[in-house]
Each structure stands twice: as C-alpha cells, then as structure tokens.
C-alpha cells in the first residue's frame, strides 16, 4: 500500500470527520428541540417550583431559557476541551455511564458477531455450491422467515420456548443476583448470555449467509474458476482456493463494518433480556428526555460509523490487490 493510499485515507477520514461533526450537531439540536427534560421534574409529586426546575436544568446545561445555540456551544467546548459529555438527567456522569455500558454491550455482542460471521460465510458458501438442492431451498426459506421476523419476535419466541421447556436457561439480566463467588457469577453470566447470543446469532448468520451465497454464486460462473480446474485442481479445491477466496472480498468489509458497530449495542436484544448496554440506553435516554445522553450516543455512533467505514476500506484493500495500487 503506497503513499497515495495514505493520502487517500487521510482525505477520506477528514471527509468522515466533517460528516460526523454535522451528524452529531444535528442530533444535539434535534434532541434539544424534541425532548423536554423539564417534564421529568414537573411530573414529580409534589410538583417542584418552576424556579428550581430551571436551576436544576441550568446546572445540566439544559435550561430552555438559554438559546439552544449557546447551550450547544457549551456542550461542544466541554467535549472538545475536556472530553466531557455532561451529566445525565439524574445527575450522573455521561462519560462514566457510557464506559460501563460499552463494556456490557461488547461482552454481549462479541461472541454472537464472531460466530455469526464465521458460520454465515461458511453456510452461504455451502448453500451456493448446493444451489437448488433441497438443503439450499430449505435454508433459503428459513432465512427469509428469520429476515421477516423483527428481533423482538425472535427473542420473545426463544424466551417463550425456554419457559415452556421449564426454563432450563435463565436469561434476565447479566447474571443471577443470587449467585455468589467468582466462579458462580461467571457461570451464571455465561448462562445468561445464551439466549441473547442465540437471538443475535440467528439474525447475523442469516444476513451473512445470504450475502455470501450471492457473491459466491457470482464467482461460480467465473472464467478463472474454469482456468483453475483446467490446471487440474479438483472441483472442491478450486472452489475453496480460487472461488471462496475471491467471493469473500465483498463480504469482508461488511463484516468489519458490523463488528465495529457492535459497540453501539443491540437495542432490542438488550431491552428484551435486560442487559444494560448501549442499545438499551438509547431507548431509555429518549424516553427519559435525557438530552445530554442522547447527544452523546449520537456522537459515539457517528464516530463508530467513521471508524467502521475506514476500517472496511482498509480490509478491502488488504484483500483485493486490484484496489491497492
């Protein structure tokens, strides 16, 4: 990879940075306009006086009497100069909460994404080789069914099945609050991972296998595969060495993209299985009118998209010699 590519990546990164900045700014203004944190305080009993409501809000840079541009400026300078995303609606630090939740989401998603990617690519390639055979037709129909199911439906179905079977697998929360001792907690934590991981795996394996299947089918008719066989490679070997190697090229950037974005969390799964990760936070912050947290999520997500975009470009270049000139 030459110097030209370095310059290109830099240009691309700058472009992404500008996009990220605009996106974050947009989210901040949108959240400030749409969400009304005053409601949280006003709905309390007894209802606090207006003046104290405003003073609480002002302490969190949420005072509706201050022009939104001014609040934005405070918010922005705090982030840029102090790395401080402000306070949550309940007074806690957004930074600290975010750190905690990123960790939780990562634990939940790492396993499912890794297994999902690998099994997806394998299943897709296998299906492509067996196009029109019963196994391919069945996995096509099953994957359409899974694609047609929203995540809550998958999750709840799994939960219900578990219950009908007499709840062999526990699933609410990260671990069993009654578990004591490191070993018990870790074991319980692993048991609690099963159902959400299964939910996420189902979604991911379906997506990647469909995608891999179509790129693989594309390659199956390629001339170079015929050349490889004409050289004397048996069918299977030619397919794996020349076909699959070429067919994963378009899939890999997508995989990388997804892996990076796993830190954003899985909204539905986390919510369903009581994991306090980034995804759950997204929903909670909006329902609690937590403008600072929503804005922080906005920044975090768009930065991740930036990183994911750049990384998938790099992976593409690493895999395909035609790109890295």
């Amino acid at each position: 990879m030459g110097r030209g590519m370095g310059r290109f990546l830099l240009k691309r990164a700058i472009n992404y940075l500008i996009l990220t900045f605009i996106a974050s700014t947009g989210v901040y203004f949108l959240a400030s306009y749409c969400l009304e944190p005053a409601m949280n305080l006003l709905s309390r009993h007894p209802r606090p006086p207006m003046s104290s409501v405003y003073s609480v809000l002002a302490s969190q840079n949420l005072d509706p009497r201050v022009p939104v541009v001014e609040r934005y400026w405070t918010w922005l300078t705090q982030i840029l100069f102090h790395g401080n995303f402000g306070t949550m609606i309940d007074g806690g630090s957004v930074n600290a909460e975010m750190g905690r939740r990123i960790f939780v989401s990562t634990e939940l998603l790492l396993l499912s994404t890794l297994i999902g990617s690998i099994t997806g690519v394998m299943l897709g390639a296998w299906n492509a080789l067996r196009q029109y055979r019963p196994s391919d037709r069945i996995s096509t129909i099953v994957s359409y069914a899974i694609i047609a199911m929203p995540v809550p439906v998958i999750g709840i179905t799994l939960r219900t099945i578990d219950n009908w079977m007499g709840s062999p697998i526990q699933y609410t929360g990260l671990d069993d609050p009654n578990a004591h001792g490191v070993v018990a907690v870790v074991l319980s934590n692993m048991q609690h991972l099963i159902l959400p991981t299964l939910t996420l795996w189902l979604v991911q394996v379906t997506l990647f296998s469909r995608y891999q299947r179509s790129t693989m089918l594309d390659v199956l008719n390629a001339d170079f595969l015929r050349t490889a066989r004409a050289k004397g490679l048996p069918f299977r070997k030619a397919i794996v060495k020349h076909g699959l190697r070429t067919a994963v090229i378009p899939v890999m950037p997508l995989l990388v993209y997804n892996i990076v974005l796993l830190f954003v969390g899985a909204t539905f799964t986390e919510k369903l299985f009581g994991w306090h990760g980034m995804g759950e936070w997204t929903v909670d912050t909006i329902t609690t009118n937590d403008i600072n947290s929503v804005a922080a999520i906005g920044v975090f997500t768009s930065v991740l998209v930036l990183i994911a975009g750049l990384l998938s470009d790099l992976v593409y270049a690493a895999l395909d010699p035609r790109v890295r000139v």
Partner: protein, 690 residues
C-alpha cells in the same frame, strides 16, 4: 512437423445436449476427429455452431446438466465418464487449455507466479524453489520480458497480451500432450494476436503437443492449422487438410464463408458476397440439411434428408456433408459466383476531391484525461494523452477510415467529435461550422446532420422499445409530426432491407445483422450528411458482416453520405474506405488515399499492422514474412520522447546511433509520400507487406 500415426486424442461421435427453457439444445450433434502429436487441428464455425462446447467437453468442464455421449480417447483411454478427481489428474497435465478472454481467465487475487506455480505443483512433486525456477523458465519461454520482476505481478497489472502469454505458460507447464486453445486471440489486437500465435507455435515446438484450436477467424486458421473442421449447427460439414478445405471446399457453407470474408490481399473494389440468413435454432432444427435455408443451390433432397459427412473422392483426406458435393467437385456447380454478389453502384458526384465540399475538418485536436488509479481509492497520478494533436478532413461522398489498435485514441476522437463540446483544444468543424462556437439552433442542426452507428447492435438499441419507437426517437426529438413519423418509419425499414411490419417487433427478436440494420436505419432517419460508424461490423459474424458492409456502401452512393469509419479490422477497411488514417498513441502516423496506404505503406507501424493481419489463404500465409512488433503499446500516460513509436519500431533497431538519436529527440512531422499520402516517420519508405 513431426507426426506419427497413432493419434493422441480421438473423438468419436461426440454429442452434447443441454436442457433449456424452450427445450433440449442439441449443441453438438456428432463430431469425429483425431489429433496426432505436433499437429494442429482447427475447428472453425460461427457463434453457436458448437465448436466451443466441443472443446470444453473434451476437458470435462461442461456444466453438470449437459448430457455428453460418444467417446473421447486420450492415448486410447476413455475420458467420458471419468470422475472429477480422475479428470483432474489429466487436466493441466496431459491436456492444457487456453481460454478466450485473458481478462477473466486468471484469478484476480493471486499473483501470476502463484498461479503458475500452482499449476506445476498440482501435478509434479516440486519444492517451492524448484517450482518458482520452472515458472520463471516458462514465463521466459512465452516471452514475458523481465520475468524475475513480473512473476510477482497480479493479473490486473498485465496487459491482455501478457495475460494470454501467462495463460499459455500455465497450459504448457506440465508438457501436455494436447493443448486446447479456445479462441485464444479473439480478444486481442492484431499485432498482439500475431505475437501470441507465435508463442503458441513455440509452445508446440517445445512440448511437441497437438493443438486443438477453436476459432472463427479463417485467417488464423490458414496460418496455424494442418487440418480444419468446419462446423455448422452442431455438426462438422467439412473436414480435411487446410489446403483442401480452403482451396477445394465441397460444401456451400464453406464456400460462402470463404467468399464472404473481406480480404486484405484483394485489390479490386467490388461488393462482398454476403451469406444471407441465420443459422437455425439448435432447439428446433428443421428437417434436412440445416444449411438448406441459406444455400443457393439447395434442391429438394436437401430439405428432406440431412447429408452425412463423407469422403470426397477427388481430394484426398477431405470430407464434406453436401448432397451436391460431387457436382461441386467436378465443376458442374462453380464455386465462383455460387453465392450472388450484388453490383456496387458507382459514386456519381464530383470525382476531384479538392472541389468537393468539406463535411468534417478536425484540426490539431487534443484530448487529455487525468489518469486515476485504484477502484476504491481513486486518485490522480498522471495525464493520459488519449488524443494528442489530430488533423484530418472528410469531403462529401467519402469514406474516411480511422484505424488503430485499442488504446490508440480512435474512440476518444469519435466521442470528441460527437459531443460537440464547448471547450476543446484544437478545432472540430462540422459541415462548415466550428463546434466550439455553435449557437443552440446550429447545435440542433448539427445533431440532425451528424449521426452515429455503434459497434454493438445489441447495446445500441434499447431492448424495451419496439423497433418503430427506436426509429421514431430521433424524429420526435427533432419535432416531427406524428403523421410524418408514421410515414417515415416504414420507409426507413425498407431502405435497410427490412420489412415495414418489423416496426412492431422488439430488437431482441432480430439477429445481430438485422439489429445493426436497424441501427443504421435510425442513423438515417433525419437525412444526415455525415455518419460516424464506430466499429459497425466487428461484433457480427463473418457471413453477416458482408451484407452490412454492402448496405453501407450502397447507402452512401444512394443518399450521398459521407462516413467517418472507425475500425480495427484492416481487411474491412481496405474494402470500404476511400481514405485511411492510421493512429498510434493519439496521433496519425500515416494517412492518405486507401489504395496508396495499403499498397505502399511507408510508416513502420502501418507495415507491421498490415503484416500482422492473417490472410485466409494457407499457402500465402506460410510464405509470408511477418513483421513482429515487440512488446505492448506504451501507456498513453507515458508517451516516449521524440518519435512515439520508436520503442517498438522494427526499423529503429537497425538504425545507426546518429540516426537513432534523431528518433529519440525529434518528433517526426508528417511528410508527403505521394499526392495524397503522407507518413510521420523520419525514415519513411514504402514496403509491400501483404
């Protein structure tokens, strides 16, 4: 050539059938041939004749849905019915294969060396170092310059010719007994084709292999083949020695094919002999001889009974499948004139060129593009000098041909003329009007008077529109009334030899030649003065080409048109052009009266180009001395100093140091060789090469 009597490859009654939506496609309906070591057999035929399927089935690489019957014996061992594992031990070892499209034949993600070493290590127990050493030897053998450096290059870094050399290296890696070459040079330029054919011959000498060559190009066959089999509708219709098939064909299809080819060595200007009609559908074959519908001498029995391939007594080794072969053989039916040749009407206008009005003048046209690299990471790395100072003019009633190999800038030139851009370096004057300064109204006028016919008749017609709409589109764009359009469409159709009721059909319902006629009809719709023809016949089969060329010739005279004809096929150009300009790297290196340029080519590039064109005449081909150009066309982003052809110039090599210095430093100007003939070479001298 060495040959012993036991054939290495013997094919008996090979039949291949594919299932399809509309029924079984009987792609090959029984073919026999045998091939001895060191021998070359060419299977010739037009698209869909079953020639490629034959080759692929020998290697057992047809899709599994294909039903293959008959027998394929390699040194007496039956190959049909072998498992994939068993076949894999034969493929690449005993039989090597070279495919048509070198662009897609190599895996894009592995280096050339890796792929070549793989071919070696599959069949031989070689260490990595040994394999690499042998790979270097092979690359050297097929003429890849600086193989030590190039071995680690990826396919996309190779030119088409270099890739095909690499594919040949792979095919001969394990000293095969048979090399199957499926249209090995069809995708290449003519000078590169000459190089690659040379490499194939070398490969054959080194390995002593038999070559099975699949091609549609009769010129290539004449130069390469010892024996020839002509296929039509899935069956051989004529087979024998090259000389027998070329000089004493007994089957009207072969006779027609040979007379339809435009020839570089025919000097008289007359119409080509078209072979009208299309090959039959392979799903619903008519009863009798499949060629009967196109055959001018067909009799009743031809429509009843399919003739078998039988020995022709008069010519040893020749077999023909024709009911009337005997009559052809004894001269009762003359080959000459068997297919009717239309009369060519003569141009009746002013014969003196200078006094005819100018329809197009291009002066010092320059078009440079930024050179970008990378598909994902696009960035500018230089300037492509696609067109670099081009000057020519076309006068009324003239066919002006722009010739050159791919990358010479001819298509750019054409687009630069058609685009009528407002910003342009140099000037383009169409029908007396400078395009840069055109007003809106004049621009519309030029859009009406200047029309275009494209190369690919499939791509140039919108498949969703019925032909009537296709023809009406230019009329509508220029505000014709409905009634006038309705009257004009049938008129246009009959002008190009189609029927008025064809207006309701869709382009896909027509054959390639008919589609190209529709494209021509569309170009004629607005009564233009100048038509730009971009490779108008290169996508067509030979037998259909002739009809389209004749039509163009006839229309020119009838409607007083002028043509700007862009093509790479010199034989076609020789046939149709009045004046010719040869382009190399964005410049015209030689131009003038077609007769003069073809008879006494004076620029070394023109000479090489002409000498690279194979003639469909085995004896002449064998006697010809070829001027082989070395290497590839330099990148138009990196034009050599001085004379831009010097890096490949055969003449440059023989120059003294002082003379050579001039070529290195001084860009040769165009100098007159005769009244209407000039060449841009410091040492231009006429040479007869055809």
């Amino acid at each position: 050539m060495t040959s012993n009597n036991t054939p290495v490859l013997e094919v008996r009654d090979l039949r291949v059938t594919f299932p399809s939506e509309s029924g079984a496609v009987r792609a090959v309906r029984g073919i026999d041939f045998s091939l001895r070591s060191g021998e070359t057999l060419a299977i010739v035929g037009e698209s869909g004749s079953g020639k490629s399927v034959t080759a692929t089935s020998v290697l057992g690489l047809l899709p599994t849905s294909a039903q293959v019957t008959g027998s394929v014996l390699l040194e007496g061992r039956e190959l049909l019915g072998l498992s994939d594992t068993e076949m894999s031990k034969i493929r690449g070892k005993d039989i090597g294969m070279v495919f048509q499209d070198p662009l897609s034949a190599l895996t894009p993600v592995y280096s050339i060396g890796t792929q070549l070493m793989e071919a070696l290590q599959i069949h031989q127990n070689l260490s990595k170092q040994a394999a690499r050493a042998r790979a270097l030897e092979l690359l050297e053998l097929v003429g890849i310059p600086d193989p030590k450096r190039r071995i680690d290059a990826f396919p996309h870094e190779f030119s088409g010719g270099m890739r095909q050399r690499a594919v040949i290296a792979m095919a001969i890696a394990n000293d095969p007994k048979v090399i199957i070459a499926d249209e090995p040079t069809t995708a290449l330029d003519v000078t590169i084709q000459a190089q690659v054919l040379e490499v194939l011959k070398t490969a054959q000498e080194v390995t002593g292999a038999a070559i099975l060559m699949i091609t549609h190009d009769l010129g290539v066959v004449a130069g390469m083949a010892d024996n020839v089999t002509v296929m039509y509708a899935g069956r051989p219709v004529e087979a024998g020695t090259a000389e027998g098939v070329f000089y004493e064909p007994h089957m009207p299809y072969t006779i027609g094919l040979l007379s339809a080819v435009p020839r570089l060595d025919k000097t008289e200007r007359k119409a080509l002999t078209p072979l009208e009609g299309n090959p039959p559908s392979m799903v619903k074959l008519p009863k009798g001889c499949p060629f009967a519908a196109r055959c001018p001498i067909a009799v009743d029995i031809c429509r009843e009974q399919e003739p078998r391939l039988v020995d022709v007594a008069a010519v040893p080794g020749l077999q023909s499948a024709c009911h009337r072969a005997a009559e052809i053989g004894n001269g009762d039916l003359a080959r000459e004139g068997m297919f009717p040749t239309p009369e060519l009407s003569e141009w009746e206008g002013e014969s003196d060129r200078a006094s005819r009005p100018e329809v197009l003048r291009v002066e010092n046209l320059i078009k440079h593009f930024p050179l970008t690299k990378g598909a994902v990471f696009k960035r500018r790395v230089g300037t492509v000098k696609a067109v670099d100072g081009l000057t020519f003019d076309i006068r009324e009633g003239e066919t002006f041909a722009l010739v050159g190999e791919s990358g010479c800038g001819k298509t750019t030139t054409l687009l630069e003329i058609l685009d009528l851009p407002r910003k342009q370096e140099g000037s383009v004057v169409v029908l007396g009007k400078e395009t840069k300064t055109l007003t809106g109204k004049d621009r519309r006028g030029i859009r009406r008077d200047l029309q275009v016919v494209f190369q690919d008749p499939m791509a140039s017609l919108d498949a969703r529109m019925p032909v009537g709409d296709v023809l009406a589109e230019p009329l509508r764009a220029h505000g014709w009334s409905k009634e006038k359009i309705q009257a004009r469409v049938p008129e246009l159709l009959s002008l190009v030899g189609l029927l008025p009721e064809h207006a309701e059909r869709f382009p896909t319902e027509f054959s390639g030649g008919q589609r190209q006629r529709i494209g021509i009809a569309r170009a004629l719709a607005l009564d233009p003065k100048l038509i730009v023809l971009d490779e108008p016949v290169s996508a067509l089969d030979v037998s259909i080409q002739a009809g389209v060329i004749n039509l163009l010739d006839e229309l020119k005279v009838k409607l007083g048109l002028s043509y700007l004809f862009v093509a790479h096929d010199l034989s076609v150009i020789r046939h149709i052009a009045d004046r010719v300009a040869v382009m190399y790297l964005g410049r015209i290196v030689e131009s003038g009266d077609a007769e003069a340029v073809f008879e006494s080519p004076s620029h070394p590039y023109t000479q090489a180009l002409l000498s690279a064109v194979p003639l469909p005449d085995p004896r002449k081909e064998r006697e010809r001395q070829r001027i082989l150009l070395t290497g590839d066309l330099p990148s138009p982003a990196d034009v050599p100093s001085g004379c831009r052809f010097r890096t490949r110039c055969p003449k440059f090599v023989g120059l003294t140091e002082g003379e050579a210095e001039r070529c290195r430093t001084e860009d040769p100007a165009s100098t007159a060789m005769a009244a209407d003939h000039s060449a841009a070479c410091h040492y231009a001298a006429a040479l007869e090469v055809v």
